[in-house]
C-alpha cells in the first residue's frame, strides 16, 4: 500500500539547505513572523508582570517605626527631560527601520542588495538611544536617585533597564542583518532577517512609549 512519490535523501541536499533555504520565501517569512509574534507575547507577559508589580507596590503602605503608623513610602521620580529626547530618537529609528524593511523586501523582487544605509542609520539611532538612557541613569544618580533609594526609583531603573536589554537584542539582530548585507547573502535570507528585526524594533518603540507614559503619568 506504500505510495512514495519521491525517494530524495535529505543528506544529498545542497549545503544551502541549512537555515531552511529550501523553503519558499513566503513560507520562511510567514514562519519567522509567526515565531516573532509568539516571542512578543512572552515579552509582553514580562512587562505586564512588571506593570502589575508597579501598580501594587505604588499603592502599598509601609509601617513607620517612629510613629508606628502606616505611611506611603513611594516618591514620584522627576524624570530628566533627556528621556523625552530619547523617546523621539527611538520613534525616528522606527521610521528608518521601516524604510530598511521595505527596501529589503523590494530587493527580493528586483535583486537589489542596497539597503545597508537605512539599517546602519537605525543601528546608530538605537545606540544613541541606549547612550541617552545611560545618560538618564547618570543624571538620576547625580540627583541622589539610585536603584534602591525608593520604590519609585527602583521601578524607573528596572523598567528602563529591562527595555534596554531587549533593545540591545534588537541591535544585535540589526547587526546580523548588516552582516548579511555586507557578506552579500542571498536577498531573501536577508529580507527575512530584516523584516523580523523591523517588527521587533517597532514593538520595542511601542513598548518604550508605553513605559515612558507609565513612568511619566502614573507616578
Amino acid at each position: 500500500m506504500s505510495n512514495f512519490s519521491s525517494t530524495l535523501d535529505v543528506s544529498t541536499l545542497p549545503s544551502e539547505s541549512r537555515g531552511g533555504i529550501a523553503l519558499p520565501f513566503e513560507s520562511r517569512l510567514r514562519r519567522a513572523r509567526l515565531g516573532l509574534l509568539v516571542a512578543l507575547v512572552g515579552i509582553v507577559m514580562i512587562f505586564i508582570s512588571f506593570t502589575s508589580a508597579y501598580v501594587v507596590r505604588q499603592g502599598l503602605p509601609t509601617l513607620d517605626p517612629g510613629t508606628n503608623t502606616l505611611v506611603r513610602d513611594w516618591f514620584s521620580v522627576r524624570l530628566p527631560s533627556l528621556l523625552l529626547l530619547n523617546t523621539i530618537v527611538l520613534v525616528i529609528s522606527s521610521g528608518s527601520m521601516e524604510a530598511a524593511r521595505r527596501q529589503a523586501l523590494r530587493g527580493t523582487r528586483n535583486g537589489s542588495k542596497n539597503g545597508l544605509s537605512w539599517l546602519a542609520l537605525t543601528v546608530l539611532l538605537g545606540l544613541s538611544f541606549l547612550i541617552g538612557q545611560w545618560a538618564v541613569w547618570q543624571k538620576l544618580a547625580a540627583s541622589g536617585m539610585y536603584l534602591s533609594t525608593n520604590p519609585g526609583s527602583s521601578f524607573v531603573y528596572l523598567l528602563t533597564g529591562a527595555h534596554a536589554v531587549h533593545l540591545s537584542g534588537g541591535i544585535l539582530a540589526l547587526l546580523a542583518a548588516c552582516g548579511a548585507t555586507l557578506l552579500r547573502r542571498e536577498a531573501e535570507s536577508r529580507a527575512v532577517v530584516v523584516d523580523v528585526a523591523a517588527w521587533y524594533w517597532h514593538f520595542m518603540a511601542v513598548l518604550w512609549v508605553y513605559i515612558f507614559c507609565l513612568l511619566k503619568f502614573a507616578r
Partner: protein, 582 residues
C-alpha cells in the same frame, strides 16, 4: 516500511551532521534534543528521589548519622525539601513530558522534518541544562542549598541573612529558575510555531493526535506563565542583592532591622502562583494527551469524544490562569476574593471530569491490551482521580485553612501533579521506546516496575492524607518532639518503608531502559499497530523523519476497529480507507 502516502520531498532545515559534537552534543535535530531533555530529566529525577529518600529516613530516624552526609539538621532538611521540590517540578515534570517527548514526537506526529527553529531549540536545551547545573551547584557553595522551599516565599528568600543557605545558595536558586524560564520560553516559542506552521498536508488541527494538542496547549501556558516567573525572579534578585524593597517589608532578622521597608511578600505570592498554578497543568497536560492516545491505541477504539477532549484541555488551560489565589487562602485575602477563586477552582473539576469519563468511555467495551504503556496509562487515570478528588476539598477556603500546612496537601499534589505526571512519563517511555531505540523494552521487568510503582505510590501517599487530617504538619524535620505527632510515628514509618520499596522498584525501570537499548527484542516499525505518523516511518526515524518524503494525512488519529478496514486500524496516511473513515 510501514504504510502511508507521501507527496514530494520534505525540505529539511539542516543537513544530517557527521561529527560526534554536532550530532550528539550541540545537535539541531529535534530527536536528539528530545533525548537530551529526557536524559537530563532522568538524571534529575534520581537526584530528586535521593533527596526525598533522605528526608523520609530523617523523619523516622532523626538522629541517624548517614555516611558522607552525617546527621541531618533541621536546616539541612529544609534544603533537601527545597531542592527536591525545585528539581522535581522544573527539571522533571516540566522537562521530560514537554522538552523530552514533545521535542521528539511533535514534529513527527504532525509530519514535519524538525522544529520551526532548530538553533533556538538547541539553545533552549542548553540553557535548561545550565539551569540544572547552577541549581545543583547550590549544594556545594558556602552555606549550602537554600531552605525557602520550591515556592521561594519572601522575606525568607529575599534576605541573605535569613538563614544558612540563604546566601549564595539562594542566589544560585533564583538564577537557575530565571535560566529555566528563558529556556522554557524559547521552547514554547518553538512548539507553538511548529504546531501552527509546519503541519503536513491534510493534518488539520482537529486531525492532530491529542498528544500534539496537549503539547501545543502546554506551550501556550508556558509562554504566558514563565515570563511572569522570570519577572518575579528578577525582582527577587534585586531585593537580595541591590537593596530594593519589592517584596521585603520592614523586618527584624536575628535582632537586626533589615535594610528594607515597604515591600510586599504577597506580591511575590501573586506573581509566583500566577505562574505556579498553570505550572501544574504544564506538568500534567502532556500526560493527559498521552493517556488519551494510549487508552485509544490499546483499547482498539477511537477516543471517546475527541473534540470534547480538546475543548476540555483548552478549558483547563484557560481556567488554570484564574485560580492562583487558591494557593493563598492562608494569606488573609478577602473572603469574597477567596470565594471567587474557590468557585473557579471547582469549575476545573468539570473539564477534568469530562476527560476522565471519556477515558473510561474509551475503555468501555474495548479490546484492551494490557501492555506496559497501557498499564501506566490506566495507572495515570487512577492517580488522576485519586489525587484530583481531594482538589475540591482544598478549593474550599474553610477546609484549606486547617489543611494547608499539613501532609494532606503533600498527598494531594504528589498524587495528581507528581506521580500521575511521572506515570505519564513512564507510559511514554514504554510506548515510544521502540521508535526511539529500535528495540522493545522487557515486558516482565516493566510489569514488575508498574505494580511496585502503583501499589507503592498508594502506600506512600494515601496514609499521608490521614496523617494530614490528624493535623501532622508539613515542613517539620522532626515529629518526635510533638506529642500528637509522635503518636503517629508508626504511620510515618510505614510511609518510609513504602517509599524505600517504591524507590527500589525504579531501579528495575532504569536497568530495563539501558538493558533493552542493547538486548531488547528488535522492534518493527509499528509494534503497537497504532495509526499516527511516527509509526509510518522507519525505526528509529531518519534524520529528517520521513526519509526525504512529505506525508499526506487523510484521517484522524484514532481510527481503530473501522468497519470494512482490512486491519482493525487505519493509518492517518492511508488513502485507501478514505471513504470509510469517520
Amino acid at each position: 516500511m510501514a504504510t502511508g502516502e507521501f507527496a514530494g520531498h520534505l525540505p529539511h532545515a539542516h543537513a544530517a551532521p557527521q561529527g560526534f559534537i554536532r550530532k550528539w552534543v550541540f545537535s539541531l535535530d529535534h530527536k536528539v534534543i528530545g533525548l537530551q531533555y529526557y536524559f537530563l530529566a532522568l538524571t534529575a529525577v534520581f537526584v530528586g528521589m535521593l533527596l526525598s529518600l533522605l528526608m523520609r529516613i530523617h523523619l523516622i530516624w532523626p538522629n541517624l548519622s548517614l555516611p558522607l552526609i552525617g546527621e541531618i539538621k533541621p536546616e539541612t532538611y529544609l534544603s533537601l525539601l527545597t531542592m527536591h521540590g525545585t528539581i522535581m517540578v522544573f527539571f522533571v515534570l516540566t522537562t521530560a513530558p514537554q522538552g523530552g517527548f514533545g521535542n521528539y514526537f511533535l514534529p513527527i506526529q504532525i509530519g514535519a522534518a524538525d522544529m520551526a527553529f532548530p538553533v533556538l531549540n538547541m539553545l533552549s536545551f542548553w540553557v535548561t541544562f545550565l539551569a540544572f547545573v547552577v541549581l545543583v551547584a547550590a549544594f556545594f557553595v558556602t552555606g549550602g542549598a537554600p531552605l525557602h522551599g520550591w515556592t521561594g516565599y519572601p522575606p525568607l528568600s529575599a534576605l541573605q541573612s535569613a538563614g544558612t543557605g540563604q546566601g549564595l545558595g539562594a542566589d544560585l536558586w533564583v538564577i537557575s529558575i530565571a535560566l529555566f524560564c528563558l529556556g522554557a520560553l524559547m521552547s514554547a516559542l518553538n512548539f507553538i510555531t511548529t504546531t501552527l506552521d509546519m503541519r503536513a498536508k491534510g493534518m488539520s488541527l482537529m486531525r492532530m493526535p491529542l498528544t500534539c494538542w496537549a503539547w501545543f496547549i502546554t506551550a501556550i501556558l508556558g509562554l504566558l506563565a514563565f515570563g511572569v516567573l522570570l519577572s518575579a525572579g528578577i525582582l527577587l534578585l534585586l531585593d537580595r542583592n541591590a537593596g530594593t524593597s519589592f517584596y521585603v517589608p520592614l523586618v527584624v532578622v536575628n535582632g537586626q532591622v533589615a535594610a528594607h521597608k515597604g515591600g510586599s511578600p504577597l506580591l511575590w505570592q501573586h506573581l509566583f502562583w500566577f505562574f505556579g498554578h498553570p505550572e501544574v497543568y504544564i506538568a500534567i497536560l502532556p500526560a493527559m494527551g498521552l493517556c488519551s492516545q494510549l487508552v485509544s491505541v490499546f483499547s482498539r477504539k477511537p477516543i471517546f469524544g475527541y473534540k470534547a477532549m480538546v475543548y476540555a484541555m483548552l478549558s483547563i488551560g484557560i481556567l488554570g490562569f484564574m485560580v492562583w489565589g487558591h494557593h493563598m487562602f492562608m494569606s488573609g485575602m478577602s473572603p469574597y476574593t477567596a470565594f471567587a477563586f474557590s468557585v473557579m477552582t471547582m469549575a476545573i473539576g468539570v473539564p477534568s471530569a469530562i476527560k476522565t469519563f471519556n477515558w473510561l468511555g474509551t475503555l468501555w467495551g474495548g479490546k484492551i491490551r494490557f501492555t506496559p504503556p497501557m498499564l501506566f496509562a490506566i495507572g495515570f487515570v487512577s492517580l488522576f482521580v485519586s489525587g484530583g478528588i481531594s482538589g475540591p476539598f482544598l478549593a474550599q477556603p474553610v477546609l484549606d485553612i486547617p489543611l494547608h500546612e499539613t501532609y494532606f496537601v503533600i498527598a494531594h499534589f504528589h498524587l495528581i501533579m507528581g506521580v500521575a505526571s511521572i506515570f505519564g512519563i513512564f507510559a511514554a517511555t514504554y510506548y515510544w521506546f521502540p521508535k526511539m531505540f529500535g528495540r522493545m523494552m522487557n515486558e516482565r521487568m516493566a510489569q514488575i516496575h508498574f505494580w511496585v510503582s502503583f501499589v507503592g505510590t498508594y502506600a506512600v501517599f494515601m496514609p499521608m492524607h490521614y496523617y494530614g487530617m490528624a493535623a501532622a504538619l508539613r515542613r517539620y524535620s522532626q515529629s518526635t518532639e510533638v506529642a500528637y505527632m509522635r503518636d503517629l510515628l508508626p504511620l510515618q514509618q510505614f510511609i518510609t518503608a513504602a517509599a524505600i520499596v517504591t524507590i527500589a522498584g525504579q531501579f528495575v525501570f532504569l536497568f530495563n531502559l539501558f538493558w533493552s537499548m542493547k538486548y531488547g527484542k528488535q522492534a518493527s516499525d509499528n509494534p503497537w499497530e497504532a495509526t499516527t505518523l511516527e509509526w509510518t516511518t522507519a525505526t528509529p526515524p531518519p534524520h529528517d523523519n520521513f526519509a526525504g518524503r512529505t506525508p499526506v494525512v487523510y484521517h484522524g488519529p484514532y481510527e481503530y476497529s473501522v468497519p470494512g478496514a482490512p486491519n482493525d486500524f487505519v493509518m492517518q496516511t492511508d488513502p485507501a480507507m478514505e471513504k470509510v473513515s469517520h
